[in-house]
């Protein structure tokens, strides 16, 4: 009976951990800017590892191995923010157009969701009677991808 309970907990946490790692890898491949990729990598380092370690702790039971598992978790939780910080330092010190790129991204976001876009969207909806600003949003979104490519093409 107890073994079924342990199996259930282990299975649940293992599936959660695998989902976290899948989303971490998917985020890394889909984002266009390296800071976003670092943000997505953090999900795997923290929540993914926690769920997998909890699943294995349920699988091992109350043994010495569980304490070693938790020690692995502690090491990675202590060291992963440090490595992420160093990687962000590498990016900030290595390229000269970071502030420019962030400013452009911010401007693009304001264009998409700012007050002018919303009033223009309301005017468009009043005229045509359907959802507002789809063409403008598509144009702005593709402009954002071009910005990411330009950021990399000019820099690395």
């Amino acid at each position: 009976m107890m073994e079924y309970f342990r199996f259930g907990i282990a299975a649940f946490f293992l599936l959660a951990g695998l989902f976290c790692f899948i989303s971490s890898v998917a985020g890394n491949l889909r984002f266009g800017f390296v800071m976003d990729r670092m943000h997505s990598a953090g999900v795997g380092d923290t929540l993914g590892l926690l769920c997998v370690v909890l699943s294995l702790a349920a699988a091992f039971g109350f043994r010495m191995a569980t304490l070693k598992l938790l020690l692995v978790l502690v090491f990675l939780w202590l060291g992963s923010p440090v490595t992420t910080h160093f990687l962000s330092q590498v990016e900030v010190f290595n390229n000269s157009r970071l502030t420019e790129h962030l400013r452009d991204q911010r401007a693009q976001g304001d264009r998409q969701n700012g007050p002018e876009a919303q009033t223009a969207g309301n005017a468009q909806a009043a005229e045509t009677g359907h959802a507002a600003g789809t063409e403008a949003a598509d144009a702005a979104r593709s402009g954002g991808e071009d910005q990411n490519d330009a950021y990399y093409n000019g820099n690395h």
Partner: protein, 133 residues
């Protein structure tokens, strides 16, 4: 029941191996140094996860010690890689940095005084390399 445990963890290991292989795409493609170091970091973390899962599959507890040591190795590796690839020259676009302003003013006044002679390099830009590709 043992078969059930194996059926639970064996597909998990295979899936993690596939994810690790997918990260190699980012390591090869990633336009930039930081992307590649980040991919190596993620591969290390996922390999640690694979070792932990294998220790349950094969029923060997010493693999947990291996995972612990590999975690420490990966942390030190990424730290050293990051410190090697940081370019510590003065950034040429830092318009709000007081030191950069001073150095630029120095170079400008030196150019005004002797336009034909080779100018001194107070920021060490030629040595350090600035922001080359």
């Amino acid at each position: 029941m043992a078969f059930a445990w194996q059926m639970l963890y064996l597909p998990a290991v295979l899936l993690m191996v596939v994810l690790t292989g997918i990260m190699l795409i980012r390591a090869v493609q990633g336009p930039g140094t930081t992307d590649r170091i980040l991919a190596v970091n993620m591969i290390s973390t996922m390999v640690i996860c694979i070792i932990l899962l294998l220790s349950r599959l094969l029923d060997e507890t010493w693999l947990l010690d291996v995972a612990m040591i590999y975690a420490m190795v990966s942390i030190v590796t990424i730290t050293m890689l990051a410190s090697l690839y940081v370019k510590r020259a003065v950034r040429s676009d830092s318009s709000d940095d007081a030191a950069a302003e001073e150095i630029k003013a120095e170079v400008v006044t030196a150019e005004e005084k002797n336009p034909d002679k080779e100018q001194p390099d107070p920021a060490g830009k030629e040595v350090m390399g600035g922001n080359e590709k």
